[in-house]
């Protein structure tokens, strides 16, 4: 039965109420043999291979949105960061900051969603912490997750590995998450069929690694969107990138809402998409590998890497023009993840 009532300061005090929350809610959904040790630190078997570690804090507003919630997002965001280095994500730690007065039913919904996301990604939550702050000192709840994964021998993926001549691919439509969060905020009153793309990408990444020995870079274009992530890759790899605007997948409803709000989908956050840079000869194999995964059905080849004017990203526009595609600058959208 779901727990009733609201979060009180007692729930974070370490006493009986804390224990009830841990036992009745967190353990119920996230429990496993490691978390079940209930000791000061989780003890894990020594893995073989290099470790990849990533941490991220999630403060998205609103906490529930079409396509996901802060719980699934907190799992996907960190799992994806670990997977972008070629690692197999194994473990997560989770820290909650709860605002006094949060409905326990909402917390349970978030935690159940985290559990489902962790199950799909194949990761275990091995350590956790909960703090409660007074009303107004946080907004409903914030979540921090840290992910640990293992990188297979001999694999070196990174944003500095792209080479001139490589192909640039994206795993599906861009801008879905950012525009959904914007539209979910109060007052916009939009009734468009849009949803966040929040999803785990580790299985998709594993498929790519298997299919393409010439894989150079995986990157999930979260804050700052596709445009910013590509600029970072161009700068770190010392190459230029040329994109074909018409090839970049954009959902028509997302495009329409962006039009209304004056937003550019290329700068909006994604939470279930990756950029893949690969030896151009293996681009068809990469495309097939992505499309074989549930989260890569909309994959497309969108451009190529060049050697001149290192650090610059160009876009050939749909109408036949050409311009720079710059990094995000100015005021970013707040609290989108």
């Amino acid at each position: 039965m779901p727990m009733e009532g609201s979060i009180l300061l007692d729930h974070g005090a370490g006493g009986k109420a804390s224990a009830e929350l841990v036992g009745g809610l967190f353990a119920k959904h996230l429990g496993n043999e490691v978390l079940g040790q209930m000791d000061d630190a989780a003890v894990l078997p020594r893995p073989t291979g290099r470790l990849a570690v990533s941490t991220d804090s999630f403060v998205v507003d609103p906490i529930f949105f079409p396509g996901g919630d802060i719980g699934s997002l907190a799992v996907h965001g960190t799992v994806n960061d670990v997977a972008m280095r070629g690692a197999t994500p194994l473990y997560l730690t989770v820290g909650f900051v709860l605002e006094e007065g949060l409905a326990i039913a909402d917390l349970e919904r978030v935690v159940a969603s985290m559990a489902a996301a962790a199950k799909e990604a194949g990761v275990k939550v091995v350590a956790g912490d909960t703090k409660v702050v007074g009303r107004g000192q946080a907004d409903k709840l914030f979540i921090n997750t840290t992910g640990i994964g293992v990188i297979p021998e001999g694999l070196t993926l990174g944003a500095a590995q792209a080479k001139p001549g490589d192909a640039v691919l994206v795993s599906g439509t861009v801008g879905d998450h950012g525009v959904t969060i914007m539209a979910s905020r109060e007052g916009l009153g939009l009734d468009a069929p849009i949803a966040s793309d929040s999803a785990p990408l580790n299985h998709l990444a594993a498929g790519l690694i298997k299919a393409c020995p010439g894989l150079r870079t995986l990157r999930d274009p979260t804050r700052g969107g596709l445009a910013t992530a590509l600029n970072e890759i161009a700068a770190l790899s010392g190459i230029s990138i040329e994109l074909d605007e018409a090839a970049i997948p954009i959902d028509p409803a997302v495009g329409g809402v962006c039009e209304l709000l004056g937003l550019d989908p290329l700068y909006l956050a994604n939470e279930g998409k990756l950029i893949c840079i690969v030896d151009s000869e293996q681009a068809p194999a990469a495309l097939n590998a992505m499309r074989a995964d549930a989260h890569g059905k909309g994959a497309a080849i969108i451009g190529r890497c060049g050697g001149e004017r290192a650090g610059r990203v160009w876009i050939n526009t749909s109408v036949g023009g050409r311009r720079i595609l710059d990094m995000l600058s100015g005021e970013p959208l707040p609290r989108i993840c």
Binding site: V319, G320, I324, G330, E331
Partner: protein, 362 residues
């Protein structure tokens, strides 16, 4: 979105560009008066499609860019006033005034709320009856009627905690000031589709007939812009100077009398300062005396000393089409979108921002 997609058809745009290249013989320099056109040209990379004989120069049509420093200072002063919530379009928040921007005031604890429409500001006033909500009215004849609609709504709801700080600008006096100033070597104007939808085409008649400069009222999709440039090129090549409407799906020669009437009900023309152009007679809008209770300039102390601009900033010359952004010493160095010095770099529709984002290596 079918209506819009038609004007984004790559084949149509390419054909129009080819026609421009075939038709244009005389070197020409057209000014786009509207910031949205500046953005459309840059974002779709249209400059790359034009022949060397056709150059486009930006004019004073970005509302944020022409907002004078002292007008920003006044908004900052209101934001510092206890009990006042300043509601504004997002673009304006980062524009530097003489000493501070609204963004800096907000970080320091001032209540500054970003809204998407003046009606949202009215809703904010309803939701926060204990605060005084001041909406910063900026923009041309396109936005002034929507602000008038917000004022009407506030009146009808009997709200006593909503007012407008008007820094609205009018296009025709600025156009006249531009033409009476130093010779800009222009061959014609790409006229703003949205403003003209409201005010109609009468204000362009003297430009075409007395100054001999072709005027074409243009839409905002790539094919609209290219079709309009082609119409301008045709006029020049055929030695005509007329007012033509390309954006026929929105614009009527007489404009929108209902919108103009609503605007005139609440506002009247006043002398106004323009960033870059200086003071221009009867070029701004102030609330009429009978609406003093809705006028933030009357209800609060919004007096400020004359504004101080960064000495090296040449936004004024950019706004008059005298120089291109890279000719300003601050461009892309001290002044960039993350740390804008002048308003042309702040606004998404600013000439410097567009050049920085899309054409830095032209």
């Amino acid at each position: 979105m079918k209506h819009v997609d038609e004007y984004r058809d790559p084949a149509m745009a390419k054909e129009l560009a080819a026609q421009i290249r075939r038709t244009s013989k005389t070197p020409v320099r057209f000014m786009e008066l509207c910031g949205t056109h500046t953005m459309a040209l840059a974002r779709h990379g249209l400059h790359a499609l034009l022949p060397p004989t056709v150059s486009m120069v930006s004019g004073p049509g970005c509302p944020v860019c022409v907002t004078a420093t002292e007008e920003i200072d006044r908004a900052v002063k209101l934001a510092q006033t206890p009990g006042v919530v300043v509601a504004t379009f997002g673009d304006l928040v980062r524009v530097p005034g003489s000493h501070a921007s609204l963004a800096r005031e907000r970080a320091g604890g001032a209540a500054v709320e970003v809204v998407y429409s003046p009606l949202d500001a009215v809703a904010l006033a309803e939701k926060r009856p204990d605060d005084q909500v001041v909406f910063l009215g900026i923009g041309f004849e396109t936005t002034a009627p929507t602000v008038a609609a917000a004022l009407l709504m506030a009146e009808q709801k009997g709200l006593t905690n909503f007012s407008v700080l008007s820094a609205h600008k009018l296009l025709p006096p600025a156009l006249a000031a531009l033409l009476s100033g130093p010779n800009l070597g222009l061959s014609g104007f790409l006229c703003p589709g949205h403003v003209t939808t409201v005010i109609g085409t009468a204000c362009y008649e003297p430009v075409a007939h007395e100054h001999g400069l072709p005027c074409v009222v243009a839409g905002f999709e790539p094919a609209d812009v290219l079709a309009s440039i082609l119409m301008l090129v045709n006029q020049v090549e055929q030695r005509r100077s007329e007012v033509e409407i390309q954006y026929k799906r929105a614009v009527r020669p007489e404009g929108n009398p209902a919108a103009v009437a609503l605007m005139n009900r609440f506002f009247e023309p006043v002398n106004a300062p323009w960033r870059g152009l200086g003071p221009i007679p009867a070029s701004g809008l102030a609330l009429r005396a009978e609406y003093g209770h809705l006028d933030a300039a009357k209800r609060f102390d919004a007096s400020v000393p004359p504004g101080k601009d960064h000495p090296g900033c040449r936004c004024g010359d950019v706004l008059r089409g005298l120089i291109t952004p890279p000719e300003c010493k601050l461009f892309a160095g001290v002044c960039n979108p993350s740390a804008p010095v002048g308003p042309c770099m702040v606004s998404a529709e600013g000439t410097c921002a567009a050049w920085y984002r899309y054409r830095r290596e032209d």
